[in-house]
């Protein structure tokens, strides 16, 4: 479904991705873990074609994303749903208008059909009663659920989720995670989630990958991940301050 081949990406002086290779199978729920600023969200933006890789190839189905024309890329994006860390709902539109936006702009459906689909998706995420509210009137968890409904409204084959449970209380985080599982299972969609929240990652994932220093250093099923011998993965999962992740920088932090 998705394949990244030796992808390199640099932002000004900082080399973020240094040869990332990754393959995602259909109907898989891949979770990419890594430290903040390690380039997890960059991978999602590269798959969407919002960023262009310095080198390497990114494939979505048979399409090589960084070689597509603008028009073709817009068509391909209609098969991918994206849920942003801070929801990114259009603040001037109501919940209903936000969810209906892709349908109104990209399909020929009639207003009554659109209304039906919007209500259906909002019901799936339990937000039907908020359809006339503005995003500002919703809590963080509610916004995430609306963003999820918007991401799913075109029945995408691939869903990209950027930190879906970050900043939510544990109960709502679980609700959002379970919603992701049930919705992807119901629509038979593939999903790629990036997160550094361990509980959320293990709940969602059918396969996991760890991004460290610009490379995927470990890939596998959640069970294998928990038993990983890789010191970086082990330290990341345990949250310990001792290990290779903070090597060198720990002294600087503790001295401060």
């Amino acid at each position: 479904m998705v394949e990244l081949r030796d992808v390199h990406m640099q932002f000004e002086q900082k080399q973020v991705l240094e040869g990332v290779s990754l393959e995602v199978q259909p109907q898989e729920r891949l979770v990419i873990m890594g430290q903040s600023g390690s380039g997890k969200s960059t991978i999602l933006r590269l798959i969407l074609g919002i960023l262009r890789a310095d080198s390497g190839s990114i494939f979505f189905k048979q399409f090589e994303i960084n070689r597509l024309s603008r028009r073709k890329l817009q068509q391909v994006r209609q098969h991918i749903g994206m849920v942003y860390q801070y929801s990114a709902l259009l603040s001037s539109l109501t919940v209903r208008e936000n969810v209906a936006l892709p349908l109104e702009e990209l399909t020929d459906k009639s207003p009554s059909e659109i209304d039906k689909i919007v209500d259906e998706k909002l019901e799936l995420v339990g937000m039907l009663d908020t359809r006339d509210l503005l995003p500002d009137e919703l809590s963080g968890g509610m916004r995430k659920r609306v963003a999820l409904a918007r991401g799913l409204v075109l029945d995408p084959e691939l869903i990209l989720l950027d930190e879906p449970s970050a900043g939510l209380d544990p109960v709502i985080a679980t609700v959002v995670d379970e919603l992701i599982i049930s919705l992807t299972e119901k629509t038979k969609a593939t999903s790629i989630t990036v997160t550094h929240e361990m509980e959320s990652a293990f709940r969602i994932a059918t396969r996991m990958a760890m991004l460290y220093e610009g490379k995927i250093i470990e890939e596998g099923e959640p069970k294998e991940f928990k038993q990983s011998k890789n010191p970086v993965v082990a330290q990341f999962l345990s949250g310990s301050t001792e290990g290779p992740i903070l090597e060198g920088s720990l002294d600087a932090i503790t001295k401060k």
Binding site: A88, S91, P102
Partner: protein, 275 residues
């Protein structure tokens, strides 16, 4: 030491080259922004679909046009009043106060009306466009629109650009009428020129060409202001501070561009039509 200090602070030729380059880069970026927006919008039209939401266009039109009428009208009313009064007293010394109506009408129709309107639209609407789109950019709303497969230029910039393109000439006309009306009051009260005679004098002196010149200019002002404002908004970087910086820069650039374009337009126009 003072020499060394002077050497450090005085911009060298390389710095001038860099300033020149960055200026040309900006001009090129705005030009391509207009081209890309037009292209994206036309692609959509070719698909047989509405390029953007009518509601969005009308909302921007009301905001940019209708809501600006009181400000533009009032400012030009006062300017027309002042101009008629001050020039009237000078002309009265030579017994030529009957030139006031024509003077105010021609000056506003050809030059001051579009220019003052352009400057006020840049300050009032250009700033609003940049701040709004900039905030959307910072909140990843623009990226979300792009990620859905919706062209952000045609969806966000095109309705704003079209609204300002079409409504700046209307505002310019309002400003001309306000100024001429104000000068008619001055002529009546201070120089005993009755309204019917005032209108005859305006009609005698004003040419259709003057009106067309002003209107054409206003179309271009509207397009330039909207393009600069949308471009600056969609290229905001650096959070809230970035929105502030780009909004200021948008207003300054738009006003400078309006005045600069007006000068170039006048130079070219007077070369081809000297009278």
């Amino acid at each position: 030491m003072p020499n060394a200090e002077a050497r450090r602070t005085k911009p060298g030729p390389l710095e001038f080259v860099e300033i020149e380059r960055s200026f040309l880069r900006e001009v090129g970026s705005v030009f391509w922004f207009i081209v890309n927006t037009f292209q994206e919008t036309m692609e959509r039209v070719q698909q047989g679909r509405a390029p953007f939401r009518a509601a969005s266009f009308f909302r921007e039109s009301v905001r940019a046009g209708v809501d600006s009428v009181p400000l533009v009208g009032l400012v030009c009313f006062f300017l027309g009043l002042t101009m008629a009064l001050l020039t009237g007293y000078q002309l009265q010394r030579f017994g030529t106060e009957r030139l006031i109506p024509g003077l105010v009408a021609i000056t506003f129709t050809r030059e001051l009306g579009p220019l003052i309107t352009g400057i006020m639209v840049a300050a009032r609407i250009g700033a609003a466009f940049t701040a709004e789109l900039g905030t959307m950019q910072v909140n990843e709303e623009v990226e979300a629109v792009e990620a859905m497969g919706i062209g952000p230029l045609r969806f966000l910039a095109a309705p704003r650009m079209l609204a300002l393109f079409l409504l700046t000439p209307c505002l310019s006309t309002v400003s001309n009428l306000a100024a001429v009306f104000a000068s008619s009051l001055v002529c009546k009260v201070y120089f005993s020129i009755a309204f019917p005679y005032f209108l005859d004098l305006v009609k005698d002196s004003l040419l259709i060409r003057d009106i067309i010149t002003g209107i054409l200019k206003s179309f271009m002002f509207g397009l330039l202001i909207a393009s600069i404002a949308c471009y600056r908004g969609l290229t905001v970087k650096g959070g809230a501070a970035g929105v502030g910086t780009n909004t200021t820069s948008s207003v300054v650039t738009a006003i400078t561009t309006v005045i600069g374009f007006d000068t170039v337009y006048n130079v070219i126009y007077t070369n081809f039509y000297p009278t």
